[in-house]
């Protein structure tokens, strides 16, 4: 088991993500109803919740893919919804986003998938520098031998790893994982959890891990935030959240364990 950062490695005075009073609705549906959350430097926060509770919406707002209806969202001291395109792009280079379905470019092989963000953002990089960066991230995710394969030839777990590698190539300060273990078998899920912890240690990242998998939340999250009915019911250690007497929380935990 690869360990996550312990409490002493987390700077509790420096919040890299600070969310206050976040509201978001889609037409008649109120999804987020006043969310508050801080993520500190070097910390992994796992956001737990049922499907459709707005967990992914939360991290999409953090990278500017969605606009909040109200609230103050600070990421690396920048108010995300107030940035112009150039400023937003500069901020996005510091945020890695790992998609639920990996979102690999299916017309490109693994090498091209990894090179693409690097070449597009740093066109002056020399070929050997690009090659070195590609090899480095592939080594970090343990898939050096898959460099010339197409995404369609990879397994679900491998695709997740390459998706993470593609974000790591830009050396992000923050990682956002959207359901990193969904659709994976238990062994591969543990490997992905280990990878998330390795990334935290090696790349000194702070992360939000969106998941409904309790094992993933426990293994990777320094803190856990329980999202239900558009608000966080409890933010704290896994055991604190697990100790909640709220019936909805207990039902979520029990159902997960039965599964």
């Amino acid at each position: 088991m690869h360990k996550k950062n312990d409490d002493s490695s987390i700077n509790h005075t420096e919040a890299v993500i600070s969310i206050r009073g976040l509201y978001k609705s889609f037409g008649p549906l109120d999804v987020l109803k006043g969310i508050d959350l801080d993520v500190f430097k070097g910390e992994n926060v796992a956001v737990l919740g049922r499907s459709g509770t707005g967990k992914s919406v939360l991290i999409k707002i953090l990278v500017g893919l969605l606009k909040p209806d109200a609230g103050n969202i600070m990421v690396l001291d920048k108010q995300v919804d107030k940035l112009n395109q150039k400023e937003l792009d500069a901020l996005r280079l510091k945020i890695g986003f790992s998609f639920q379905n990996s979102a690999l470019y299916d017309s490109m092989n693994v090498r091209q998938n990894l090179e693409f963000p690097l070449k597009m953002n740093y066109p002056d990089l020399k070929k050997n520098e690009v090659d070195k960066a590609v090899e480095e991230v592939l080594e970090a995710v343990g898939l050096k031998d898959k460099i010339d394969q197409l995404p369609s030839d990879l397994s679900g777990g491998q695709r997740k790893r390459i998706g993470i590698a593609r974000t790591l190539i830009l050396k992000p300060e923050i990682m956002l994982y959207d359901e990193p273990t969904s659709g994976l078998d238990p062994i591969t899920s543990i490997e992905i959890n280990n990878l998330i912890n390795d990334v935290q240690q090696q790349y000194k990242t702070s992360s939000i891990i969106i998941t409904h998998d309790l094992t993933c939340a426990k293994a990777t999250g320094n803190r856990v935030a329980m999202l239900m009915d558009g608000v966080f019911l409890k933010v704290g250690s896994f055991d604190d959240v697990f100790a909640q007497t709220d019936e909805r929380v207990q039902r979520f935990f029990n159902y997960n364990f039965i599964q």
Partner: protein
Amino acid sequence: MMESKPKSFVFSKGIDDYFSGVSSAFQFIGRFFRQASKAPFHVREIINQCYEIGLRSLPLITLTGFITGMVFTKQSRLSLETFGATSWLPSLISIALVRALGSLVTALICAGKVGSSIGAELGSMRVTEQIDAMEVSAINPFKYLVVSRVLATTITIPMLALYCGFVGLLGSFVNVNAHEAVSFISFFKEGFATITFLDVFTSVVKSIVFGFTIGIVGCYKGYNASNGTQGVGRAANQAVVLSMFLVFIEEIVIVQISNWIRYF
């Protein structure tokens, strides 16, 4: 779970949706011109798309153009023979191919082949979050995907239309040569004698408009696809239907304008 509140409409859902659709289509076109005029220019991707759209359509355009020219000649011969006017065939076919058929046949084929493929490709990238992945990597997906494809269709479809016209004339020549002792040179000399600069110019302008329409419609439908694989299929289908419809409307408008110019 999420709460819901009743949604209000300005007119009705259908009318509101129609106007918001028209408005978003014009915004999409405006965004294209803004992005196309600003650096960086993804020249390599534009060339790549020109290859995909242009060169890969050549076999189909060749076959269709050749058959169109030949069949049109065969059908026209029957009528012209009644008046003993088969010698007019090269002029008639040239005018028909240059003024209308070359650009129209090419546009319809490309609307089917290229429009659907752009709609499906971008639609699939949208629903599998590949476009979002570009955006969060600080890459401008609109510029990389949309601008390059629309420019590629706008550049290559006029070329394909001219080529289609030429191949159509070849098809016509094969038929004429089989019936009358007309040489290759005299056929083309006679055919081109009746073609004016305005004919060629109008044809090229028309093809540029058709190319832009096919590219922008395919990209618009694909880029805004939703609802999973069903949405991808719908995007591809709508890209073909809408671009064909617009091509016919544009054909009527441009022919009308060119006729006014011709008579004044």
